[in-house]
């Protein structure tokens, strides 16, 4: 409940004037609705008086018709006044949640699959919209309807009113049990729905593999398992809904029985008029609506509890920023970087992937990193870029702990071109310049990344839309686009994670030369598999199993036995360092 209150305070209260106006219109709506049966009762009783009652009948008929027309406008307004803030709240939460996701460290978000995060922003926030619109309407509707209807019933006959309350109360209680069960089943349903969605997403992303292996049947079969689990959960929900759902209508019908059985004799005794008995039947029926609404609301509040939890754990978690609100400004010139005894494990990992790594690069120098797959090269770069924060004191930039920098400023200062090239569904230009407008720069980085010829061959040149995740470009083109994107940013630190393998040898050399001739020359970290890309580095670190097993210049490393010399020999013998790439 505290979650609901926190949500209401932050998101609903700002729209209080909408809700206030809504309540006024709602009370009016309900007041008119319970007044109409009274005029009808008056009319019915007048009928028994024959000719004499006719003026009364006409006037009550006019009242009923007039109020009926009036209530159309008022009811529409009352619903709009609640539903509109519901939609506005929905949009605001979506915005805040999305912005917050963009702020969180990948390490934090890796707690959930991407599809799960997406469904938090889409379906869970939809739940909150119901909470802010439908539920809010329901609460006030129930309160005012119960109060107004109840007082009318009490006015006609306290005894019958008390009698009518019993079945309604009983069915209302039964419904609470039902709602609790429904909540449980709904949670189960969400779980299996998530698994189903993950399976579908991964098979759409992996469609090339599925089709070339002719594995459609196997995937359909796997999908069908999730599908059946989902079906089972929905059937459980249907059972509950069917048996318990109409319980209130049943209660109201039982009430008519009670009214006939006990109210009928009262009418015969003249304790109430026939018109009043009929009005009572109408009022009892009118009560079931708000009561049903009430049980929906209780269910919604409970279900939204789950959604709120799923949203809040992302929305209210503070991004991991050890620098606090006022971080230091990172250097504006290429800095020296020193890594000292850095051990690191991923937040969800069970073992260290970096063990006591120590390295240093002079200001404006180049550090090369080489080593087999899984040796921790990519992790090291991620930690330097603070996608994951290093332990205190292990990474120093110009003598300052990198953890102390304002993260945004640090990201502005450095550029990491990741190994996996991820492109967005927008033009090549947008992918590279990210919204900036600088044609000269675009041409420069296209040439630098050896992408100019490729882009010229595309139908719309730089304006060509790249398919989702860059499907229409080849792997090499994608990586070079990502490289161009990285190069388009000014920076004092540049880190390339195995990006040079996307270009051929000549381009690689051009690029390395171009990077060297930049002024000021950024402090550069290059992860590469080709010795040729590293040989001019100021220092080369050889990594294996999360450790730096050797380091030195190219000349030093080839002069002594070890992994580096092994790689170098292999590449020299087979000509591997000179690939024909693409």
């Amino acid at each position: 409940m505290t979650l609901v209150l926190r949500f209401a305070r932050r998101y609903m209260v700002p729209f209080w004037h909408w809700y206030l106006a809504g309540i006024v219109f709602l009370v009016l709506t309900n007041w008119i609705s319970v007044t109409i049966p009274l005029y009808v009762a008056e009319g019915i009783d007048a009928i028994a008086q024959g000719e004499a009652g006719r003026p009364v009948i006409v006037s009550s008929a006019l009242w009923v018709a007039g109020l009926g027309v009036l209530v159309i406008g008022i009811r529409t307004a009352s619903r709009l006044l609640f539903f509109t803030p519901g939609r506005l709240v929905e949009a605001n939460v979506k915005h805040d949640l999305f912005v917050r996701i963009l702020e969180h460290q990948p390490g934090f978000l890796s707690n959930w699959p991407t599809g799960d995060l997406i469904s938090r922003v889409s379906s869970d926030v939809g739940m909150l919209r119901l909470l802010a619109g439908f539920t809010a309407l329901g609460v006030f509707n129930t309160i005012s309807a119960l109060a107004l209807t109840g007082s009318q019933m009490l006015r006609i006959s306290p005894f019958l009113a008390g009698l009518a309350a019993l079945p309604l109360l009983f069915s209302f209680l039964v419904i609470q049990v039902f709602m609790r069960e429904l909540h449980r089943v709904t949670q189960e349903l969400q779980q299996v729905a998530g698994e189903l969605s993950d399976h579908a997403l991964s098979s759409y992303q992996g469609i090339a593999t599925i089709q070339t292996f002719g594995a459609e049947d196997a995937f359909e079969e796997a999908f069908e398992k999730h599908n059946q689990a989902y079906l089972l959960a929905t059937l459980k929900r249907a059972n509950l809904r069917t048996v318990f759902g109409p319980i209130l209508t049943l209660g109201a019908a039982v009430n008519v029985f009670l009214l006939l059985r006990y109210g009928g004799p009262m009418a015969m005794n003249g304790e109430l008029t026939v018109g009043e008995l009929v009005a009572f039947v109408t009022l009892v029926a009118y009560l079931t609506g708000p009561l049903r609404g009430m049980s929906f609301i209780i269910a919604l509040v409970k279900q939204s509890q789950a959604s709120l939890e799923r949203i809040d754990v992302v929305l209210y978690a503070e991004p991991d920023r050890p620098e606090g609100p006022s971080g230091e400004a990172p250097p504006t010139h290429p800095p020296a970087i020193e890594v000292h005894d850095l051990s690191f494990r991923y937040p969800d990992g069970d073992h260290d992937v970096l063990h006591g790594v120590s390295l240093s690069v002079p200001a404006g120098g180049t550090l090369g990193i080489v080593g087999p797959t899984g040796s921790g090269k990519t992790t090291l770069l991620r930690v330097l870029a603070r996608l994951y924060n290093p332990p205190p004191g292990t990474v120093r930039v110009d003598g300052h702990d990198v953890r102390g920098f304002d993260l945004d400023a640090w990201r502005d200062a450095m550029t990491l071109v990741p190994q996996r090239a991820y492109l967005f569904s927008e033009s090549v230009r947008s992918n590279i310049l990210l919204g900036a407008d600088d044609d000269a720069k675009l041409r420069r980085v296209l040439t630098l990344a050896a992408l100019d010829v490729d882009v010229a061959a595309l139908r719309d040149g730089v304006e060509t839309q790249v398919g989702e995740a860059g499907v229409t470009l080849s792997g090499g083109q994608r990586q070079r686009t990502a490289l161009a994107r990285g190069l388009a940013r000014g920076q004092v630190v540049l880190m390339l994670d195995d990006v040079l393998s996307a270009v051929d040898h000549r381009t690689e050399q051009q690029l390395v030369d171009a990077l060297k001739s930049r002024s000021p020359r950024p402090t550069t970290v290059i992860v590469a598999h080709r010795v040729s890309a590293l040989q001019h580095a100021d220092v080369i670190a050889v990594m294996e199993g999360g450790r730096v097993v050797d380091s030195g210049t190219h000349a030093e490393l080839v002069a002594r036995p070890g992994l580096y010399r092994e790689i170098w020999r292999r590449q020299t013998e087979t000509g591997e360092s000179e690939g024909v790439h693409g």
Partner: protein, 581 residues
């Protein structure tokens, strides 16, 4: 109503083939429905009888009997309705799950060009939220619509029987109601379509950004991304607010009309209309009837709105099912042994783009290794994709054992040609499933393949063949993924392998392991290598150098080096580079 959008009924009719299998459930529902309706319709009549024949006549005993009869009608009516609802929702849910399966199945068969165009986020929406909307509709909202129709008809019949004139007065309003409801319904339908489209666009954008979050953060693209997100969000929000207005209006109009009906009844009852007075019991019964008439009609409009939503979803679902961007396969099968794979004068363009392959010819015989080299964009990967028939519409011919590729059955081609993808694609599930992709391959073969690819250690780390690979291969490194992908292709034991090298992300040592494994296999397999590294192909039987879609040079490594052409230049420069290195 615009002609280009299919009507709701047409859409629902298309649902019939999926509904058929659950006929017994629907029949039970249809049997229970009239019983339930009759028991509900009789209730106001009992009320009338109680008032006119017993209360007004002071017959206490008869009244009590009648009250009990009323209770019996209520309870039995409840049971019949429960049976109806249960049978119908079971039927509906089963139908929905069948639709979901069909949509998923159909999507898997679509051509790759379709996936190049359509974001996977949108496809996911079809198979999840759109079908869910349909399910929600059928179970929670619209399921009782048949019952509603029956109830309305039953009530009208009962009213006509009790007092045809009074009924006629009531029904005067129905055309008004029909016009209003239908008009608003049309507006709503268009709006729901707008809501769904804007939501899909919003979700697709968000999904892509969250997937590529690292890029957004590293390049400080948050402001631009947020602005673009907000723009889509505003379109969605405004569409939903418009929808709310018409929803609310529809709800209120139907509600207000019931009061106008009551006023008409009173006027008629006074004899003011036709000079004919009625009894209090009859009026009470009519008020009950009209109340019950308006409840389903009011809910009817809500349910119609929900059906609109479902129709919008259905439209998209069927739109996807109608998508026939398929690869056209033939019917031919082949005997077991590979004799030859002959590519002759092959040209190809993606869509209406420029040719990316022009007049390429090559022959691959059993046990041979043919290599394609060339810069990015030279078309070598495209040739590999054509051999898998990922794209169709090539000109010239590709013949396997003399049979044109497009005439083959897909399973025949898959049995003959295996592929190592350039992009590693792993799936959430066991390691075994990721290797076999559902094919019946003994563990021994898998283990042998893993050994050959030096991937055994990685698999042990993951917990053996039964170990889990997480969504998006989150617990597997890029290099490991490639080793597994290689093992997957080896385990399929196809006589021909198309190896689209993905060396970019694997370090030399891992590459060396794969190379060693490849070498062992090359002796027994027939391989087309789309090479990124010359070391892979020095022993190839033939090397084709591609440039801008044309073969500019071909021969063995030795021939080409001797010939002194582009390949030799490449090799020379490489040799020279290493001298200097």
């Amino acid at each position: 109503m615009a002609d280009e959008t299919p009507s709701t009924t047409a859409l629902l009719r298309r649902l019939l083939p999926y509904v058929r299998y659950d006929a017994p459930l629907y029949i039970v529902a249809l049997l229970a429905a009239p019983i339930g309706t009759a028991l509900v319709v009789v209730q106001p009549w009992l009320l009338k009888t109680a008032i006119d024949d017993h209360i007004q006549k002071n017959d206490a005993e008869g009244l009590i009997t009648l009250a009990w009869a009323y209770l019996v009608a209520v309870v039995l009516g409840f049971v019949a309705e429960a049976v109806y609802n249960l049978a119908l929702s079971y039927g509906a849910m089963r139908t929905i799950s069948r639709v979901r399966r069909a949509v998923y199945r159909h999507t898997l068969t679509l051509a790759r060009s379709y996936f190049d165009r359509v974001p996977t986020g949108r496809l996911l929406t079809r198979v999840t939220s759109d079908i869910e909307a349909l399910g929600e509709t059928l179970t929670a909202g619209a399921i009782t619509i048949i019952l509603d129709v029956l109830l309305v008809l039953g009530i009208i019949a009962a009213m006509l029987w009790l007092d045809p004139w009074l009924t006629a007065v009531m029904l005067v309003l129905s055309p008004v109601l029909a016009v209003v409801v239908d008009g608003i319904r049309r507006v709503l339908r268009k709006l729901y379509q707008e809501v769904r489209t804007s939501l899909a666009s919003l979700n697709a954008y968000m999904a892509e950004r969250i997937t590529g979050l690292g890029v957004v953060q590293l390049y400080r693209d948050e402001a631009r991304v947020t602005a673009a997100f907000d723009e889509r969000l505003a379109i969605f929000r405004d569409a939903t607010i418009k929808t709310n207005f018409w929803d609310a209006l529809l709800f209120a109009i139907v509600d207000g009309l019931s009061s106008i009906c009551m006023a008409l009844m009173l006027w008629y009852g006074s004899g003011g209309l036709f000079g004919e007075a009625v009894t209090a019991g009859l009026l009470a019964a009519f008020i009950e009837y009209v109340g019950r008439l308006f409840q389903p009609i009011r809910e009817f409009s809500q349910k119609l709105a929900v059906i609109q939503r479902a129709a919008a979803a259905l439209e998209k679902i069927f739109g996807l099912l109608d998508e026939d961007e398929h690869i056209a396969w033939g019917d031919a099968t082949l005997a077991d042994d590979v004799e030859s794979l002959v590519v002759d004068d092959l040209s190809f363009a993606y869509g209406d783009g420029p040719d990316v392959l022009q007049g390429v010819s090559l022959t691959l015989r059993p046990g041979q290794v043919v290599a394609l080299v060339g810069r990015t964009g030279s078309g070598k990967s495209t040739l590999g994709k054509l051999l898998q028939r990922s794209y169709q519409g090539y000109r010239g011919s590709i013949r396997l054992n003399g049979v044109e590729l497009r005439d083959l059955r897909p399973e025949t081609l898959h049995r003959f040609v295996g592929v190592v993808q350039q992009d590693v694609q792993l799936f959430p599930g066991s390691v075994r499933f990721n290797l076999t992709l559902g094919a019946d391959i003994p563990d021994a073969v898998l283990e042998e393949s893993l050994d050959l690819c030096r991937a055994t250690d990685s698999v042990i780390r993951l917990g053996g063949l039964d170990g889990r690979i997480r969504h998006e291969g989150a617990n597997v490194s890029v290099g490991e993924g490639q080793l597994l992908s290689f093992a997957r292709t080896l385990a399929a034991r196809t006589p021909i392998v198309v190896l689209d090298e993905a060396t970019a992300s694997v370090d030399s040592l891992t590459e060396a392991r794969i190379q060693a494994a490849t070498d062992a296999i090359l002796a027994r397999r027939t391989v087309l290598v789309i090479a990124h590294r010359l070391s892979t192909i020095m022993d190839a039987d033939e090397i084709l150098v591609l440039d801008a879609g044309r073969v500019i040079e071909r021969g063995t490594h030795a021939d080409l080096v001797l010939a002194g052409g582009p390949y030799a230049a490449l090799f020379e420069s490489q040799f020279h580079d290493h001298e200097s290195a």
